[in-house]
Amino acid sequence: MTPAQTEAPQRRGTPQDSAPTPVISVRKLWKVFGPKADQVPGSEELCGLTRRELMERTGCTAAVRDVSFDVSPGEVFVVMGLSGSGKSTLVRCLTRLIEPTAGGIVFEGEDIRDADDRRLRELRRRKFSMVFQHFGLLPHRRVVDNVSFGLEIRGMSKAERTRRALEVVELVGLSGYENSYPDQLSGGMQQRVGLARALAGDPDVLLFDEPFSALDPLIRRDMQNEVVRLHHEVGKTMVFITHDLSEALKLGDRILIMRDGRTVQCGTGDELVGAPADDYVREFVKDVPRGDVLTLRWIMRAREDADELDGPELGPDVVVKEATRAVLTADKPVKVVENGKLLGIVGDEEILAVVAGREGGA
């Protein structure tokens, strides 16, 4: 560990490196709406059609098509796509609020698709919680009763659930509003209630369905920071749906981009920006400030013989923005070193290509 490396902020560990057992494992998931929907996933011919062709041929809409991914414990997994890309359907399929047409969803070793009604309710009560775009609060209940609603459903006693609800209300920063009604709160505060309701049951996984899309930009930023904070404090696994790329990059350990129900690309933020899978993703990430996302790994060049190797060292996962000053002030090129092994070299040109220009990079 070099001093430069410890000074640079540590990015959260990228889970695929250590590859622990995933919490949720989704395999070849399909959701088709329409008559005889269950025939579509099985038919190779129908699978090949575009959405529009499928609609014309069969009258079916395929909202989720052959999607697979794993979510590791403690990870924030973001699903991103424009409206109509199937992301909200996908997250509802995870707890079968919408019944999937085909595929498997394994949660902690158990296939959720095999669960009967009772087991499914149990999972929803104990293991999963969801935060909704339009909050879905009960207007006839006070904040504290909204937060304790899930506990009430479970059959917890009134005193106990109120105590727990007050704890969570404090955790999301709503102290003092316990006895207000939802329509007396602003949109951001209502969504805090939604968040508190989801946290109250102490679930293993939190699902967010575009939770901040209905909020003003400033409040949205506050709430994003709130989620980051809560993630640090409670360390829950989160699946987060959004249509906003900057939100995805800000919150997500890994991001899955969907289009027309299919996975386009799945990877970390710097992977999407550094190596877009196709023009669609490239168009998406075009306006992202690359220096904020890319790490040195993406911009370093191979060592050349002319390079002087006595410059400072940095790790490959340091973000370009953080390394800029160190590279530009050093009079010699910076070595990118991981576990004592030299991976490549970063000089002023590489840094400036990213910071000053939009083109270049991988």
Binding site: T61, L120, L138, E152, I153, R197, G201, D260
Partner: protein
């Protein structure tokens, strides 16, 4: 993206579904010409064939159908206690309902057992009314309820009022017992909703009147029949509104509850029902108002209460007495309406105000309950608290004041009112009625079918043809045409008023705010009481019924048209104004054409309201179908004819409804 996909799909789909759309567009150009041609052909044929094949039937004449119904009625009467269907079904229902009504009557209105007075006297009832109004509403409506109930006593109509109240409450209780679960079911299940909707449409299309005749066949005349008729008439609003409320609960909220692992039961009781409670209370309000209207009309089949006073006074043209009793009905309607409306708003208001008296509410409610209990006890024990003191002198004053006013009006205004009456009667009603009644039946039928096709399309035309055929079958064709003439004339007047006031209200928020409360109040009044003031002004004629019908039907038309005008997008009006339109042009070229849907709907509702009132007008000399029905209740040999006339009213109602609904759909598309 799927949005784009859907958009590009829509035109194709529309074409596939409605191949008739271009044809409709082509027909629109020539529609007025077609209508004109039909009318001209009618007039020509009328001139040639006048007086032939008009199917007249004198008041005392009967057809075979009527005699057959009479015999059928007699045979039911003879086997009422031996036929198993009656023994184990109709008689049982009648018994249960009868027991319920008698129980409530003994409680508040009729002498009970050995007591010469009911179990709870006036003081107790006033106390309960005030307490309940306060508990479910607020102290203002509680004061209103106490004042209103005391007023019944002062009018000298305490017992009659309590009979009406007892019948209304019993009917509402039974209606809600069925309506709320059915409404919840219809809200949860699309299939059940599809099954229920046509029935509810049908039940609400029928004038109050026509429920009575068939029910007497099975349940005899009296309180039980009245209550059953009232239940059938009053339940639909609650079913409909409950279903609507359940359906309108935010999908996200239900989903949120599901995502937390709520069972269906928990979703229903913790989310759906609490969130739709306010709307359901609105439905209950409408059910109560409908029940009150029906209970008063049910005086025709010997239901006790205020309706009897109005009915008898109307039949003897005693305006003063009718006015006094009508006023009591109006007061009861206002009290019931205000209290239930306040009940709907209470929780919300309490929440908003964050009232610091909230913590006192419980002890105060307890104290109020104790006071009420004491009042009940007093009224049970002491005569002064049981029998309303005095002998209704205020009622006599009201009656004689009304008589004086009537006399004055007849002395001083008769010139004006008679001129107005004669102008409309001779200028509009008589020629039109002659045209309808003196044309051959097949000619009128053909014209009706043709107009049905032109306005509503082929399916409406087929419905019209079926209705015309059945109308001929009822044997009261001629009376039906008289009623039709009155109804159409009244509807034209309703629409004139509706457009004038509707446009005015739609364009001016101030006017809307001034007029709308009056219209709302007018709509909760039972149709019966509308007859009274016009009887004073115009005497017992067809015209009285028409004016009452116009006044009864106009509020709903005004409101629908005002809402339609208001719904025209602001930007369209602005665009027209910026293009240099004057006010008249904006109204005639932008606002009215763009609210065609509202105009058609207003016509539909106006027709239905007018029809029910024109029929009730049979009581005050409007004759025709309404008279046939009333006569059927009172004279055994006319029973069959009355029932046939009731069917004719139903057929007219269905015909109007189908044509205007189809027209509304066509305009809306």
């Amino acid at each position: 993206m799927s949005v784009a996909v859907e958009k590009s799909r829509k035109p194709g789909e529309a074409e596939a579904l409605e191949p008739a759309a271009p044809a409709g567009g082509a027909r629109k150009v020539s529609r007025p010409m077609v209508i004109g041609a039909v009318l001209v052909a009618w007039l020509v044929l009328f001139a040639l064939l006048r007086g032939k094949q008009t199917l007249p039937l004198a008041a005392a004449d009967l057809t075979d159908l009527h005699r057959w119904i009479n015999d059928f009625n007699d045979s039911i009467g003879a086997h009422r206690n031996s036929n198993p269907l009656f023994l184990y079904f109709f008689n049982e229902i009648r018994l249960v309902i009868d027991n319920l009504v008698t129980f409530v009557q003994h409680l508040i209105s009729q002498p009970s057992g050995t007591r010469p007075v009911p179990q709870v006297g006036w003081l107790g009832v006033v106390g309960i009314a005030g307490y309940v109004s306060w508990a479910v509403g607020n102290w203002r409506v509680a004061l209103l309820a106490v004042a209103g109930f005391t007023f019944f006593g002062l009018q000298g109509l305490w017992q009659e009022s309590m009979d009406t109240l007892a019948l209304t409450l019993s009917a509402v209780f039974v209606a809600l017992l069925f309506a709320i679960p059915l409404g919840v079911w219809a809200g949860l299940s699309d299939r059940f909703n599809r099954i229920m909707t046509p029935f509810l449409d049908f039940m609400q299309t029928m004038p109050t009147f026509v429920y009575l005749a068939p029910l007497t066949l099975f349940f005899l005349i009296g309180g039980a029949s009245a209550t059953i008729a009232t239940v059938i008439y009053a339940a639909p609003p609650t079913i409909r509104i409950t279903a609507h409320a359940i359906r309108n609960v935010s999908r996200t909220t239900v989903e949120a509850a599901e995502s937390l692992g709520a069972t269906r039961r928990q979703s229903l009781f913790k989310v759906l029902l609490p969130m739709s409670r306010r709307t359901v209370v609105m439905g209950v309000n409408q059910t109560i108002m409908a029940a009150l209207a029906m209970v008063t009309v049910a005086a025709l089949i010997n239901a006790p209460g205020l309706g009897v006073n109005v009915l008898q006074a109307l039949q003897s043209l005693d305006v003063g007495t009718a006015f006094n009793a009508g006023l009591a009905i109006v007061v009861m309607a206002i009290v019931l309406d205000r209290v239930t409306t306040a009940a709907g708003a209470r929780e919300e208001n309490a929440r908003r105000s964050m009232n610091r008296f909230v913590k006192w509410r419980r002890p105060l409610l307890g104290a109020g309950a104790v006071v009420t209990a004491v009042l009940i006890h007093l009224s049970h024990t002491y005569v002064w608290a049981a029998d309303f003191p005095g002998n209704g002198t205020i009622g006599h004053h009201i009656a004689s004041a009304a008589d004086t006013a009537t006399d004055w009006a007849q002395d001083n205004l008769s010139g004006v009112t008679n001129a107005f009456r004669d102008a409309v009667t001779n200028g509009l009603l008589n020629p039109f009625q002659t045209l309808l009644t003196d044309s051959p039946w097949w000619l009128v039928g053909a014209v009706l079918v043709a107009l049905g096709v032109v306005f509503g399309g082929w399916r409406a035309g087929v419905t019209t043809a079926v209705c015309v055929g059945l109308l001929v079958g009822t044997g009261v064709w001629s009376d039906g045409m008289t009623t039709l003439a009155s109804t159409l004339v009244a509807t034209v007047l309703v629409m004139v008023l509706g457009v004038v006031f509707g446009v005015w209200m739609g364009r001016s928020t101030l006017v809307d705010r001034l007029i709308r409360p009056t219209l709302d109040a007018a709509q909760v009044m039972p149709p019966f009481v509308y007859l009274v003031p016009f009887l004073a002004l115009f005497g017992a004629t067809r015209f009285t019924a028409i004016v009452a019908a116009v006044v009864y039907g106009a509020p709903v038309a005004m409101k629908i048209i005002a809402d339609g005008i208001r719904a025209v997008p602001e930007t369209t009006v602005e665009a027209a104004a910026s293009a240099g339109c004057n006010t008249w042009q904006i109204i005639t070229k932008v606002q009215l054409p763009m609210s065609r849907g509202a105009l058609t709907l207003a016509t539909n509702q106006g027709l239905i309201y007018v029809l029910s009132m024109v029929v009730v007008g049979g009581l005050v000399g409007a004759g025709a179908l309404g008279y046939d029905v009333v006569a059927g209740f009172s004279q055994g040999e006319l029973y069959g004819k009355g029932l046939a006339a009731g069917c004719a009213i139903v057929l007219l109602g269905v015909m109007f409804d189908r044509i205007t609904q189809a027209a509304a759909r066509r305009v809306g598309a």
